[in-house]
């Protein structure tokens, strides 16, 4: 049977895709030391060890869905600065990054996109905030989160 959905897998030239989005691997900088990131229009960036980490790729793909749903301007203008600020604070142990709205809404959109799968890692990639002490818990009123 030939799948008509977006391509997930590796091609003969070594390039990898997740739901049609290019997955780039690098061991340089933060990504080499344990980080991942997404630039809609360019692709998902992960450590080579996580090229097939479906749980992480699903989260990163959620950022692609944010840009599709709410626009590239909103993604690069609002989501990226907040996400980077939150990630830096969380990296120092100050708070839970996945309780920041830029992250849990990425999880939520991805969880819905994949049909609310039972094998979703809800502990690591929550679809709602789990720590309310985070100042970035609530998304702006302008975005629509209705199913």
């Amino acid at each position: 049977m030939i799948s008509t959905g977006p391509f997930t897998g590796s091609l003969a030239d070594g390039t990898s895709y997740f739901e049609g989005v290019r997955v780039h691997t690098t061991e340089v900088g933060a990504i080499g030391n344990g980080a991942a990131g997404t630039l809609p229009g360019v692709g998902i960036f992960v450590n080579p060890k996580d090229k097939y980490n479906i749980n992480l790729l699903r989260h990163e793909f959620g950022h692609i869905l944010q840009a599709r749903e709410w626009g590239n301007d909103f993604f690069y203008g609002t989501i990226v600065p907040i996400s980077l600020m939150s990630a830096d604070a969380a990296n120092n142990g100050s708070w839970d990054h996945h309780s920041t709205w830029t992250e849990w809404t990425a999880n939520l959109l991805s969880w819905r996109y994949f049909g609310k799968p039972a094998d979703w890692d809800i502990n690591t990639y929550p679809i709602y905030p789990v720590q309310y002490s985070n100042i970035f818990v609530y998304p702006p009123n302008s975005i629509n989160l209705r199913d």
Binding site: A35, Y76, A118
Partner: protein
């Protein structure tokens, strides 16, 4: 017309430059930090799944659904890397957050998971328990061998 082409080229160059700056920043700073140092090696003869808890007694609220464990199983002879999202020191923070200041790793057999589901296994205490201090994990180079 020539002027228009020049402007288009200029815009294209600016866009290309912005994309390069974004990629450079992303690789340097990341967006989603995580700690991928913990490895679990399955030297048993059966397929297993693992989970960590914040106490030496597992709680149902910290569990994923059974399907998640079936999807993320570790075959005999295989080594799986566990990632803790949020920080490159994620496992250290997780240990500090736990009630006993230890990493509480629980092992479930896939055959049992298929038969009873993870909730029943936890309620009935059908699992193996591995508890380590940070010092013990450092000395093992964060590689836990399941025997």
């Amino acid at each position: 017309m020539k002027e228009l082409c020049y402007m288009n080229n200029l815009n294209f160059n600016i866009t290309l430059k912005s994309i390069h700056i974004l990629i450079f920043n992303l690789i340097l700073s990341g967006c989603d930090y995580y700690d991928g140092r913990l490895e679990v090696q399955n030297t048993t003869s059966h397929e297993i799944a693992v989970e960590t808890f914040l106490d030496s007694i597992p709680t149902l609220s910290e569990l994923n659904k059974t399907e998640y464990y079936l999807q993320n199983s570790i075959s005999p002879g295989e080594t799986e890397r566990l990632i803790e999202m949020g920080s490159t020191k994620g496992w250290i923070f997780r240990i500090e957050k736990s009630k006993n200041n230890r990493l509480n790793l629980f092992v479930f057999q896939i055959d049992s998971l298929k038969k009873y589901g993870v909730d029943s296994l936890v309620s009935l205490g059908i699992y193996d328990k591995y508890i380590f201090s940070q010092q013990e994990l450092d000395s093992k180079n964060w590689k836990v061998v399941i025997e």
